[in-house]
Symmetry: C2
Subunit: 317 residues, 2 copies
């Protein structure tokens, strides 16, 4: 299962009840932060989400409302005694964008590595050795005023574990979870047992897509195909602001909803609301007339996505 | 009169109800921001304080908890169409500290000037031409782990205006306020009339001192002498943490109170609370046993200081 929390749902400038963009994803004690606007650490505290165990921060682009929370967050990590390395990924321009951020942070007691995801993504165990090989992150080119990318995250669901097969191969019980996570196990006699020898065929996993900032975009629709959750920017509510949305490289509510329909996603969360919308819910009908299950994100909104189709409704704080 | 608002009262890391350090001061439509921790713009919105008219940001030092709100605030100024120039002042190292901040901001539609205050301060009209000559800002060396300074701000109260003398000198009524603010007036025939020709002797003005981060410090006590308000850092509540306070260049509640007594200030507001204090009020007796009028700052706490001694109590939101 995967826990998703919207930490901030504001575009451009923060409001008292709407922090700037950040999304937290966690599963099996591992966690990724997508974007980090100013106020992300406070938003996380409000939402009772610990960011300390974040191994990876994935940035969609380098506009201030998506990255100005980084210096404070990294210094807080340092103050709280973090020593675990941190990886930051993002589109082209990562080194230039992070240079002043890291300069502001000064000396930190943990390493920060900048990493460019290959076009076809990575198994996250290649990036973070202690993660299992069951999760994958793929960058999705998006259409904003600057170089930008969304992210497709998937959690593979291994086939059913066969205890009889495990016993037959002499695998000690303490190593079962390794196989369940998709890793091979080396026995004392040097024999290597592969997951596929013990597990049944893969079952349907979970996948989530976060748009970052983008105008309506074919690559995003394609990547989002069948996703369990699309978290999509929807900066402007009213259809009448479509011109403004296009000018600034953003979506309206109905454009986001149309992408959700085209991609046949299971759930759509709208986020990244312009401060001109006092209450984004007022504009929700623009999205719901196209994608009836569309939901307006709010700061601190959480969902636990489970493998079964028996999903609870999102919890709003 | 002067309006003071504590925007943030947290040290090191922000809490949901305690933003990082920032103090807003305004008088006659002019305003100064002291320090700008992450979250200052949100804190100002919560406190119903507009920062748009801030002409001067005075930094006490360059630790992240005092400056990481700057990139976001400056970009917000830009987004809201500010064109008025902004001056930033601070202790030695200002250029180096602001370089990555301004690099993060990118292009802004207003100018940002970095200015070092001379040791004996400036009349703010020398710094900001449209301000009257009735206000003054003096840096006060403080004792922190890095180069740091507090600020002494004073608002002069000119003598009583004498309308008969003004009429005698042929001064048009529209120019009276100039004289009242301490500026000379040039008549149509070229005669220059000085304020002292029309106004009685200066009356008692107002002065305020903000400590920034500091351990107990003689220069601060000296500068604070008789101040209407001392806003003093008091990072640690319990006297037992005096060693820790000394180690990190901070004050305990009772040390801040002792400075207030020595300086014979009228009011003492404590601020910059460590996150280890869940409720700073619990430690207030440490301060009040020394300076009974000591008050724990809270985010959004305001006071209007008036020339008369008839002062209202601080308003807490």
């Amino acid at each position: 299962m995967i826990d998703i929390t919207l930490l901030g749902t504001a575009a451009t400038m923060p409001l008292p009840e709407r922090a700037l963009t950040a999304v937290h994803l966690s599963f099996s004690g591992r966690s990724i932060l997508f974007d980090c606007g100013e106020g992300t650490q406070t938003a996380a505290r409000k939402a009772h989400v610990s960011l300390m165990k974040t191994d990876l921060i994935a940035l969609t682009h380098y506009h201030g409302d998506h990255i100005f929370g980084l210096p404070g967050l990294l210094q807080t990590f340092g103050c709280l005694g973090r020593t675990d390395p941190l990886i930051i990924t993002g589109p082209d321009g990562l080194e230039e964008a992070m240079q002043p951020v890291l300069q502001l942070c000064g000396s930190l007691p943990f390493s920060v590595s900048l990493f460019h995801l290959p076009q076809n993504g990575v198994s996250l165990s290649d990036l973070i050795p202690h993660w299992g090989s069951d999760s994958m992150l793929i960058p999705v080119p998006t259409r904003h005023r600057v170089e930008s990318q969304g992210y497709w995250f998937s959690l593979r669901r291994p086939g059913k574990f066969n205890p009889a097969a495990a016993a037959e191969h002499g695998i000690p019980q303490k190593s079962w979870s390794l196989l369940q996570r998709g890793n091979p196990v080396t026995l004392e006699d040097g024999t290597v047992v592969l997951p596929q020898q013990i597990l049944g065929p893969d079952r349907k996993g979970l996948n989530i897509i976060f748009s970052g900032d983008t105008a309506p975009c074919g690559t995003l629709v394609e990547a989002a195909s069948g996703a369990d959750l699309l978290i999509c920017e929807a900066t402007y509510g009213d259809d009448e602001l479509a011109c403004q949305a296009e000018k600034y490289g953003h979506c309206t509510f109905s454009q986001a909803a149309r992408m959700a329909v085209e991609a046949e996603v299971k759930r759509l969360w709208l986020t990244h609301f312009s401060q001109i919308m006092e209450n984004p819910e007022d504009c929700l009908p623009f999205a719901q007339k196209i994608f009836p299950e569309a939901v307006c994100g709010t700061d601190g909104m959480k969902i636990t996505l489970r493998y079964s189709d028996d999903m609870p409704l999102p919890h709003r704080p």
